[in-house]
Symmetry: C2
Subunit: 95 residues, 2 copies
Amino acid sequence: MAPDELAELMQQLPEWQILAVNQVMQLERVFIFRNFRLALDFTNRVGNLAEQEDHHPAIVTEWGKVTVRWWTHAIAGLHRNDLICAAKTDALLAD
Amino acid sequence: MAPDELAELMQQLPEWQILAVNQVMQLERVFIFRNFRLALDFTNRVGNLAEQEDHHPAIVTEWGKVTVRWWTHAIAGLHRNDLICAAKTDALLAD
């Protein structure tokens, strides 16, 4: 994905940040909840999305907080599909 | 918890490691599974344990892998209860 295409797509994902984890670019967003149970419920919704997409993020579940990180193992970085999955993760909040 | 008590209790938890995350001591174990669904199932079991104990770890769910980290926020480190919760997490594998 060209840098300018990435920049343009990221404008649709204002809550997501690009970070480098062990030199692998990943797309990360932190979601805040009122308690642990609501956080775990969201983790399950993201997990179901991952299974539907056959693409699997890292999901960190903590008290009142879920951190989701999408990236593509095969290219050790970001693919267009990661940005699409990030947008679908945002949409889960509205369900 | 005195260092020698910690060392003694850690002998009961051979799969767990102590690590410092932002200078906070945490107890971590990585659990390996055959696929994402089994990993997510285990995350839910650890989550249910956390709710029962009213003590909440960080749980990182990935494809085929769950990383669990216990620590005590109030003391920014390890309490005896964290080691007990680690042992209870191990016991979930046998369920």
